[in-house]
């Protein structure tokens, strides 16, 4: 008769970034089962979106995946622009693409830093946040916001890119290439990091399909699925970039995918900066004075590749100024639902590493 122990982790725990509650059922130190409790950051964003104007709802999406705010805004606006019929001009699309990729870099930096913290490596955290701070400065220059930027608007962006912002981004990218490699070496030359990440949290492709897992987690299982390539939005079909895949299927593979995608993001930003054209940066139909009168009709579901995976927003309009229903497809929820399956038979310390590698952001899981 085996002896089982119950161990509570969370909601507030130093190694679980985000407020989840995990109840581990342990046999000695081997995990037999994990019970996940959610809802500690349920902020009724979907209900509030029904009570507010189309343009006002952008702030709730900013705060869903709060480290990857631009992607969240973009996805909501892609749906809203379809049902209101206000299409953004070409320059706005390029600006959005540069900002989205910059935010992806910032989000990955937070992910890298906190994965290091979870595994007891303090140094990469400081380097990652130093780089992230430079991205935040570019965001502040463009939008006035640091993290929850609220930069995109219906039919464009709030402010045009100036010469200074473009120069800032170029300068940032130039020095970031080297700093990223430095940071990567910090992880990769650490024997402990290898040993703690390899062979844990293995996700087989069939399991990933069944649980709806997307993003770096599915690409680490050898499936080259990326919304940017498979259903291109913005101008992702006009730039060259690669989708890295790994056949390791484990936590280490997911980390490698994330780093390689940062390099690809740099490629996308560089090409976009060369290709950005002059012209209007917003559609006059969506300007601020008309915001109260924007009406939407019909339903639309659009999806983007966010930091954690495929993020989708469903918006239904009933010909009024407020949405009838808004629903967000959260990639973090799917990644987390797989956790009880992949963490069977692991030690507690490995479990922490798996959660850090899956990198769920509680704001988007609970909404």
């Amino acid at each position: 008769m085996p002896h089982y122990t119950e161990l509570n982790i969370g909601p507030v725990h130093p190694s679980i970034h985000g407020i989840f509650n995990f109840k581990l059922i342990l046999n000695e130190e081997i995990i037999q089962d994990v019970k996940v409790t959610l809802g500690f950051l349920h902020r009724n964003a979907e209900k509030l979106s029904e009570l507010n104007l189309y343009a006002d709802n952008i702030i709730f999406f900013d705060r869903m995946n709060y480290i990857d705010a631009m992607n969240m805004e973009l996805c909501y606006l892609m749906s809203v622009e379809k049902i209101t019929g206000i299409e953004p001009p070409e320059r706005a699309q390029w600006i959005r693409m540069i900002m989205v990729e910059l935010n992806r870099l910032a989000a990955r930096l937070v992910g890298m830093g906190s994965l290091g913290l979870d595994l007891g490596m303090l140094t990469p955290f400081f380097h990652a946040f130093k780089e992230r701070e430079k991205i935040q400065r570019i965001f502040t220059e463009a939008s006035g916001g640091r993290q929850e930027v609220n930069y995109f608007s219906i039919g464009g962006v709030y402010q045009d890119f100036t010469e200074k912002i473009i120069n800032d981004i170029r300068n940032f990218i130039d020095q970031f290439k080297k700093n990223l490699e430095d940071m990567y070496n910090m992880f990769i030359h650490s024997e402990i990091f290898w040993q703690r990440n390899q062979g844990i949290g293995i996700i087989e492709p069939e399991l990933a399909f069944d649980y709806g897992v997307t993003g770096p987690a599915i690409r680490a299982s050898g499936i080259p699925y990326d919304v940017r390539k498979d259903a291109p939005y913005l101008f992702y079909d006009k730039v060259n970039f690669d989708i890295p895949i790994s056949h390791q299927k484990d936590n280490f593979g997911r980390f490698m995918i994330k780093v390689e995608e940062m390099r690809q993001s740099i490629r996308i930003i560089e090409q976009s900066l060369d290709k950005i054209n002059d012209g209007p940066f917003f559609n006059p139909q969506g300007k601020k004075s008309l915001m109260l009168r924007i009406k939407g009709n019909g339903e639309a579901f659009s999806r983007v590749e966010s930091d954690a995976g495929e993020f989708g927003v469903y918006v239904k309009g009933d010909n009024t100024t407020k949405p009838y229903r808004v629903h967000a497809r959260s990639p973090g929820l799917r990644n987390l639902s797989l956790l009880p399956v992949i963490s069977k038979g692991l030690m507690i310390a490995d479990f922490i590493a798996v959660v850090g590698g899956l990198d769920p952001v509680v704001g988007e899981v609970d909404r």
């Binding site: 209900k47 379809k82 699925y225 495929e310 229903r325």
Partner: protein
């Protein structure tokens, strides 16, 4: 054989087909055999009935489309036997929208405490009736309408 009631496109250009509630399991089994996986599901409160939209995706052909079905009595068959995604997504829709999925093994609330009254995403949910949550020393949550008994 299931019957497709209507076949249209949404504003993005995604195909949306409508099937009857009774045909749902049969249709989904068919799509599963064709290589489709459920990615997301979403409930709408249409005031006189509830409708649920299932988003399906085929990783081989890269085809993405939606299946719509509706119910008048809050009950729908559960898809947990076919797709594992449905386990948490159906719990979410039960929690916030109040759709009861028959055949789901573990249909509990996922975000709100178990004692919560009402389903907030319903159009007739009264936001003025504020509910307060409290926790006892054992970690059990209690919900009440009295401000003094919680926060």
């Amino acid at each position: 054989m299931y019957k497709i009631v209507s076949d249209e496109k949404d504003k993005v250009g995604m195909r949306v087909i409508t099937v009857d509630k009774t045909d749902l399991i049969e249709a989904m089994t068919d799509f599963k055999n064709k290589g489709y996986y459920l990615t997301c599901l979403n409930g709408n409160d249409m005031k006189d009935h509830l409708e649920v939209i299932y988003f399906l995706h085929n990783f081989d052909t890269n085809d993405y489309f939606a299946v719509k079905t509706s119910t008048n009595d809050e009950h729908l068959p559960s898809l947990t036997k076919l797709f594992k995604v449905a386990e948490w997504d159906e719990r979410e829709q039960y929690d916030l929208m109040g759709i009861i999925f028959d055949g789901h093994d573990d249909l509990r609330r996922i975000f709100l405490p178990d004692e919560w009254v009402g389903h907030p995403l319903r159009k007739d949910y009264d936001l003025k009736k504020v509910q307060y949550v409290n926790m006892d020393s054992e970690g059990n949550e209690h919900v009440s309408f009295d401000e003094k008994e919680g926060s």
